[in-house]
Symmetry: C2
Subunit: 350 residues, 2 copies
């Protein structure tokens, strides 16, 4: 039996213990200093507060002060902390990571380096390791439509594991798949990485269409579907510009993850508020006051920076990304902006 | 001002009068012998019973006995009858169609010829015309996420017009687009055609995931999203086998139309019943008793025939289509069948 250490005991980290233990891994779950109350609840015999599902039986829990112990002898490490925590946790865990044969990464996000240049998360991890003179094993980007509570509860789930070393992706798919948690391996690490934060941005736009329905009493399903198709197109354009396979955005990592994100979640809820007529800034303040982080908001600005740093005139092919950033910046007429971006041009007349 | 005749006064035919009159077309709406009660309601000053929206002002209405009058002098003809009515209405209208410069077609379906060979709708129209020794103008396949009531009510809508003669697609996009009804032109007629009936089949599968949630009290969003991604993949596989551009299924015609169909509609409602635990045949009988046609049911069988006639081993790449046809045929464990089809294989172990 191989040994895996999950770093981060929030919703996704704790949920991953289910398929991993089911697949026969000896599973350790390490919580950061922000996860103490979550692990306290589990220790008291309650379900995990973020998934409402009990930790998988056999999972060994480690508190923030026990990182070295948690990583000791790990064959694989699964990074599952919030994206803001990635740099710090990566640095803290470098010694253990460098001894593992693979680093899996379900955390996602755009990471600015010291010069403000945006890196995808695996690039950032490799940079941090290089700065510390430590080798990193192959990194597997984990994506696809994957709500943590359903994973924890053994509901059928399809994920995609992307590793530049395709054999490692195939091996991990074989060694972690269960009857209900299935894995498609791919060599397209950047494709899996870029879709994950971008879909949070586009979920805001899908939410705006839902909010229009709530606000006006009239369904805007045609608009929502046009937004969906345009979002997928834009994820594929950005992926391709970063050297990814355009097909990745059309599969589980793009289409699938956007669908699940549009069904629920905070980015969509935030969009609904805007679609109903609230100002973007006022709606964000209300959500932040309720400790509801909206990941798509910072991701929108970082995606724009990433697009600009790729050079060329990519942005004019991304009208929906542009519209969402304008709406987040306070532009009025959110409905008109998303419709203008998602509907085809009036050919030949504009 | 050009003159267009819409054949079929159901939901979509009557709805199209809105963008057409808005775009400056002199618009005639001809109802079949099945549309009398609908046009009676409009004549009495009521909204159209299928869209709940009044017919666009200026639309000239013709009853079933007035077909020649309706077609007299038409520059363009828009076929918008239910797919079962296509062969008969096409034959009846051939003289008028042959004099028009373009035939647009929002009707969709798989049409078996006399030998049981499946044709896409424009092929069937061309065959019928050839059998009658009459020329047909370029045919424009109209697709994309387009609920009729929203089109009639001027809600933002993105459509795709596919014509083998790309210039005709571009011209129609220019001449029919309005501020809220926008058109993407493409040369990919078969791509637009094949996605429309197939998405009805896959909407049943999406409904099954929703029905599982209703029946068990637990969301199956990961499964629904995996089904969505697999459906898009399969539409692209079938399109490509028929010579279409794989990108069409990834855009408005595939992704967009599947999204709108999964949001509501009878195919999805039928799937929900199955997902909740009703037998497929019993649920269909109940819907038919309520005069609720489920287009995806015949389309599933016809799609299977179409796939088989393309030869090769295409079907093993279409596990979701296969699963839906098995479920419709009475196979038990609908949940297991769609999950088995939409989740990746356990690589290396099966």
């Amino acid at each position: 039996m191989s040994l895996i250490t999950i770093l981060g005991a929030g919703a996704m980290g704790s949920a991953l213990a289910t398929p991993l233990t089911d697949a026969g891994w000896e599973t350790r779950l390490w919580g950061t200093w922000l996860d103490d109350h979550l692990l306290d609840a589990c220790a008291a015999g309650n379900p995990h507060p973020r998934t409402n599902v009990a930790l998988a039986e056999g999972t060994k829990v480690f508190r923030s002060g026990q990182l070295d112990e948690a990583l000791d002898g790990a064959d694989a490490v699964f990074l599952a902390v919030a994206s803001v925590g990635i740099p710090k946790v990566t640095e803290m865990a470098l010694a253990g990571i460098s001894k593992a044969s693979v680093l899996l990464c379900t955390s996602k996000g755009f990471c600015p380096d010291a010069d403000g240049r945006i890196q995808l998360l695996p690039e950032a991890v490799r940079r941090i390791a290089a700065e510390n003179g430590v080798p990193v094993p192959p990194i597997v980007a984990v994506g696809g439509p994957c709500k943590a509570n359903e994973v924890a509860d053994r509901k059928p789930t399809a994920t995609i594991y992307g590793c530049l070393d395709h054999n490692t992706a195939v091996r991990m798919a074989r060694e972690i798949s269960t009857d209900v948690y299935r894995i498609e391996p791919t060599a397209d690490e950047p494709g899996v990485e870029v879709c994950a934060p971008m879909k949070n941005v586009y979920a805001i736009a899908l939410g705006i269409a839902d909010g229009l329905e709530e606000g006006t009493g009239f369904a805007h399903h045609n608009l929502k579907s046009a937004i969906f198709a345009q979002a997928v197109r834009e994820m594929s354009i950005v992926s391709t510009a970063l050297g990814a396979d355009p097909a990745t955005a059309y599969g589980l990592a793009g289409v699938g993850d956007l669908e699940v994100t549009g069904l629920s979640g905070r980015n969509k809820v935030y969009g609904v508020r805007i679609g109903r007529g609230e100002g973007a800034k006022e709606a964000l303040a209300a959500m932040e006051a309720a400790e509801q982080t909206v990941e798509g908001v910072p991701a929108a600005g970082l995606a724009l920076t990433l697009v600009q740093q790729t050079g060329g005139d990519l942005l004019h092919r991304l009208p929906l990304l542009k519209a969402v950033t304008e709406i987040l910046g306070g532009a009025e007429d959110a409905a008109g902006l998303v419709a203008g971006a998602a509907l085809p041009l009036r050919s030949g007349t504009d």
